[in-house]
């Protein structure tokens, strides 16, 4: 069966690839949105921390023999603790300043983190094997589904939905949303806002690290793997607007799928299509798809 001269299985497999990319966009933009909501900082280091998650997974496998499944928990934990250190040591001092300093500070951090990893591992990719359980592919009749890719999509969607649930439907999330609206009032009610801020940052970067672990077996693990990704995620954030959690998830997945389609019909544009969409959205709805007009 063919659609516009492209065979259906080929199209579906590109679509799945797009969905995989979209899962990463969703997790990363979700983390950016959560951090921005409470800290008012655009975390440029998000890409570097995503890379840290992936490289930590590789290191644990190669030096300590710790397997993939354990790292799904351990890598976010390690990077999350690193996030606590960053927040306590550096970010704490700039909340009262203009937004741009937050961006510049985290950019500096990105350069340091990537520089350190590069001085150890160079720029070439490090291979990471797909865990045994998820190797191979399943024949669905109309397409061949690589198990690992399906797992990436399912795992990220579950994590995104869980995050949405915690923030929108639980008491903890209510504190967080209140803190985003008016931190001083929340503090007056006896909530320890500084600790909440630290943990929020740690959680946001742990999400990035989780995405990094998922990415290890399919992307080349390399110190610069987060560098270009973060800019696409910025465009995703501009398109979706950072006001809504569900908005970032849907925008991320949706753009991944569109990117996948572009790869089928006009491969040359696949690396720029997200930016083109950003331009169109800015023309029609300057506040972003899910953003609120001021």
């Amino acid at each position: 069966m063919e659609i516009f001269g492209v065979s259906l299985p080929a199209m579906l497999s590109q679509l799945l690839l797009g969905l995989v990319n979209g899962s990463f966009y969703a997790i990363l933009s979700l983390g950016l949105a959560v951090i921005f909501g409470l800290l008012n900082v655009i975390n440029f280091a998000h890409g570097a921390l995503f890379m840290m998650g992936a490289v930590t997974t590789w290191m644990a496998m190669n030096y300590l023999g710790i397997n993939y499944w354990l790292m799904l928990v351990l890598a976010p934990l390690v990077v999350g603790i690193f996030g606590v250190v960053i927040e306590r040591l550096l970010l704490r001092w700039i909340y009262k300043l203009d937004h741009l300093y937050g961006l510049l500070l985290t950019l500096g951090l990105t350069l340091v983190i990537e520089g350190v990893y590069r001085s150890v591992y160079g720029v070439s990719g490090l291979g990471y094997d797909t865990p045994e359980l998820l190797q191979g592919a399943t024949n669905l009749g109309f397409m061949i589904l690589p198990n690992y890719r399906a797992w990436v999509v399912v795992a990220s969607v579950v994590v995104c939905i869980a995050t949405w649930f915690v923030i929108e439907k639980t008491k903890l999330g209510a504190y967080l949303r209140a803190g985003t609206e008016n931190p001083r009032l929340v503090e007056a009610f006896g909530v320890n806002v500084p600790v909440m801020i630290t943990l929020t940052y740690a959680f946001g970067v742990a999400l990035a690290a989780f995405a990094g672990v998922l990415a290890a077996p399919i992307y080349q693990v390399s110190p610069l793997m987060g560098q270009n990704l973060i800019i696409v995620v910025f465009a995703v954030v501009v398109i979706g607007g950072m006001g809504s959690i569900m908005g970032s998830i849907l925008t991320g997945l949706g753009l991944g799928i569109i990117e996948g389609f572009t790869k089928v019909f006009y491969p040359e544009a696949s690396s720029t299509v997200v930016f083109v969409i950003m331009v169109i959205v800015l023309l029609i709805r300057p506040a972003g798809l899910f953003g609120k007009e001021k």
Binding site: I42, L90, W93, I94, L97, H99, L100, Y101, L103, L104, L105, L107, G108, L109, T110, L111, V112, I113, E114, G115, V116, R118, S119, N228, I231, V232, F234, A235, V237, V238, E268, S271, T272, V274, F275, V276, M278, V279, L282, P286, A287
Partner: protein, 332 residues
């Protein structure tokens, strides 16, 4: 002595120093490269320091204009001054496009938009047939200025480049001190108030964007003319980060800041290997030997330190210090 005289003396000394630099044994090509970055940073500062908009897409103007200038001089056979002019115009044109979208949103969103659009141009440069992909555009001839003066000699090239950079810098000084520049300052301080005074702030902001981008384009085309190639790395976002750092180190919103900042950053990056060797010899720590390869780590650390403790930059601190001293002596 008042501060106006003092800065006049400072600029005169700088100009004389630059005029004499080749005689004093400075390597002309290196100084020319430095001047290009100084112009680039000064143009960038016009936007961030005087209008309050952080663009993270200036690499697109530097790199994009460099390709246009290179293509026009190499393939179309234009003379250098036409090449520079075309480069400047294309920088301004790119600035018009990027600025148009960037001012539709405010603050941090606007920054992300510039970054995303610049990244888009980077991919275009990577894939377009005439840019030479990862190798960049190589073998751009220096040609003859106005068809008469050959720029082959580094010394001739040096003085032409100096004249171009000084002219570019004077445009910036003039802009900042003009009534238009005052409106920009008002927008930076309080945009709502500027609107209530009847200024169409978006038009002013867009014009600032175009001016800044055009001058960045001039810097990029000049760099191509001097070095004979346009590289992909000039269009990468790291080049945008670079110019932010130069401006920040030198001092945001000061005229002299970007000049000082670019000199400090470029010199540091060129000499960091030597510094590492020196530190390794003194302290005996082997790791310092690798410092030369870890420029990005050092750049990143400077960023962090500047943001946390040194936001006024070198010239900003100096100016504030002089103001304090004057206030002190006036009180006596």
């Amino acid at each position: 002595m008042n501060s106006k005289n003092l800065s006049a003396i400072g600029y005169s000394l700088l100009l004389v120093g630059l005029l004499l630099a080749p005689m004093l044994g400075a390597y002309p090509v290196f100084v020319m490269k430095l001047m290009c970055f100084a112009l680039f940073a000064a143009a960038f500062n016009l936007l961030l320091g005087y209008t309050g908009m952080l663009s993270f897409g200036h690499a697109a103007f530097l790199g994009g204009a460099a390709y246009v200038a290179g293509q026009s001089m190499k393939v179309w056979g234009f003379t250098p001054e036409v090449g520079l002019l075309l480069g400047t115009l294309s920088g301004g044109f790119l600035g018009l496009i990027v600025g148009f979208f960037a001012i539709r949103r405010e603050g941090i969103y606007s920054t992300m938009i510039t970054l995303a659009l610049a990244q888009m141009l980077f991919f275009v440069c990577l894939q377009a047939p005439f840019t030479g992909g990862e190798d960049g555009l190589q073998g751009v001839p220096r040609g003859k200025l106005f068809g008469l003066i050959s720029l082959k000699d580094d010394l001739v090239m040096y003085y032409v480049a100096l004249a171009v950079v000084v002219a570019g810098f004077l445009v910036i000084v003039r802009t900042v001190h003009s009534p238009y520049g005052q409106v920009l300052k008002a927008i930076k301080e309080n945009e709502q108030r500027a609107i209530s005074l009847g200024y169409d702030t978006n038009r002013f902001k867009l014009l600032a964007f175009v001016l800044s981008a055009a001058l960045s384009g001039l810097a990029g085309s000049l760099k191509t003319l001097i070095l004979g190639f346009a590289t992909l790395s000039d269009a990468h976002w790291t080049a945008s980060g670079h110019v932010v750092l130069m401006t920040l180190v030198g001092g945001l919103g000061t005229l002299s800041g970007p000049l000082v900042g670019s000199a400090v950053v470029v010199l540091l990056e060129n000499k960091i290997g030597d510094l590492g060797e020196f530190l390794a010899r003194v302290s005996g720590i082997e790791w310092f030997h690798t410092l030369g390869e870890s420029v990005t780590i050092v750049t990143g650390l400077i960023f962090v330190v500047c943001v946390l403790a040194f936001r006024r930059g070198i010239m900003g601190e100096l100016i504030a210090w002089m103001a304090r001293r004057r206030a002190g002596s006036a009180a006596k």
